[in-house]
Symmetry: C2
Subunit: 249 residues, 2 copies
């Protein structure tokens, strides 16, 4: 049975203020919860799930104490779920401290003011596909623990190292690392060779990259346009650029 106080607690975690206060976040669905459990990067606070979830993932759940497992009916799950179609399980996990960022010999992402949770989650998933470990976000980016970000990452949140910081200072502190800014006025992506080390800077969905950051870039990369759309979605642009710069030919 789900008590009123737990219901209220879970609902409060939709808001960053309460996630910060309690130092936890929520994740839903077998795929996402499974990836977070399997990563062993996050301590599980509570698992609220239907019977079949607990049976199917017995081994993965074994580190979670019995008292922290809540078996719910589908109807109870519906009450706490944020999803249109509630999906077997909702987990509450403690946030973790990011690891130390190492930029040498790898390609990493800088995100400037990415606001849309769907975009942020999709970028985290893309980074995971291309083995981009570090995602360095400006402080005005949407919170990585926003439930919509967690869902859109499709479990990749479990494997990303995401930090929030002053990007200008971060770039200045890492002057030896090249910064490649995705912009509409740069050199064609197709003129770039494979890049083994650097930071790819992606800007806000409608305003692009802040000018003070753009000035710090080593080069500007543009995805050639053949048609009439004014821009590409920030996550799509990230995928196209990473795929091209990491190509193994």
């Amino acid at each position: 049975m789900i008590s009123k106080s737990i219901l209220k607690y879970i609902q409060s975690l939709h808001h960053k203020k309460f996630r910060d206060e309690h130092d936890v976040f929520i994740a839903e669905g077998p795929k996402v919860v499974r990836d977070i459990l399997a990563s062993r990067q996050f301590v599980c606070k509570t698992i609220c799930g239907v019977d079949s979830f607990f049976n199917e993932y017995e081994e993965l759940i074994s580190p979670v104490e019995q008292k922290d497992r809540l078996i719910l009916s589908e109807i109870e799950l519906e009450k706490i779920s944020l999803l249109q179609t509630p999906n077997k399980v909702l987990g509450i996990f403690y946030k973790r401290q990011p690891e130390k960022v190492i930029l040498k010999n790898s390609l990493n992402l800088l995100l400037d003011d990415i606001r849309d949770p769907g975009n942020m989650g999709t970028i985290i998933r893309i980074a995971d596909w291309f083995a981009v470990k570090n995602i360095i976000c400006s402080e005005d980016c949407v919170d990585q623990y926003n439930p919509k970000v967690v869902q859109a990452s499709m479990g990749s949140i479990a494997r990303a190292n995401i930090i929030y910081t002053d990007l200008k200072k971060f770039i200045d502190d890492n002057k030896e690392i090249n910064v490649f800014a995705a912009s509409l006025d740069g050199k064609s992506l197709y003129t770039f060779d494979k890049i083994k080390e650097g930071l790819i800077l992606i800007g806000n969905e409608s305003k692009g990259i802040k000018s003070e950051l753009l000035k710090s870039a080593t080069a500007q990369i543009t995805i050639p346009r053949f048609g009439a759309a004014e821009s590409l979605n920030a996550a799509v642009a990230t995928g196209i650029i990473l795929s091209y710069l990491l190509k193994d030919v």
Copy 2:
């Protein structure tokens, strides 16, 4: 003033059944409405907007008869808007008949069972960026005139030629055109040269491409994975593949 009957009519257009019945769709925000008006591809039924929209886009709106222009207050617009932040204008447009599809000497898209309106809209925007004219959708794809598709296309809906048909039959009827299926078990994208003619087949977000369609493909293309994510978002995959296959080097 917005009457109750207009309010009800606009709300009904969120549903495909009523869009089909009235043969119209809705679009919101200056960018999207402007692109649709400018394309001259869609007859405008009604423009509901705030004063400043009408002043700014006087010339574009000139073909719309006075009786079909409704000047609203911000509060009235809020009542009819689907957007979280209503944005100056909501237009009601008549749907149009798609143009005849010509596949010779061009790259086009086949979409199998794309369900998410955000993905569909983003794919339409990507196609517009890369000058891919024709988007041929399976009958189970989300409706191109779904308001969320229209919004996510960011106006590119005005320039796309989208048809819904039986994909298997379409492929069989166009046997001379190569079909390249995006899959997880194909040849590396990076081994493909620039492709000037063909159909890129993109599958459902979670189930991939139907096996009967996959069998009809000339080749299967895989975006090389370096990390751990199980898949890429369908729109992101479309962007990466189109960008690589159309590269002008």
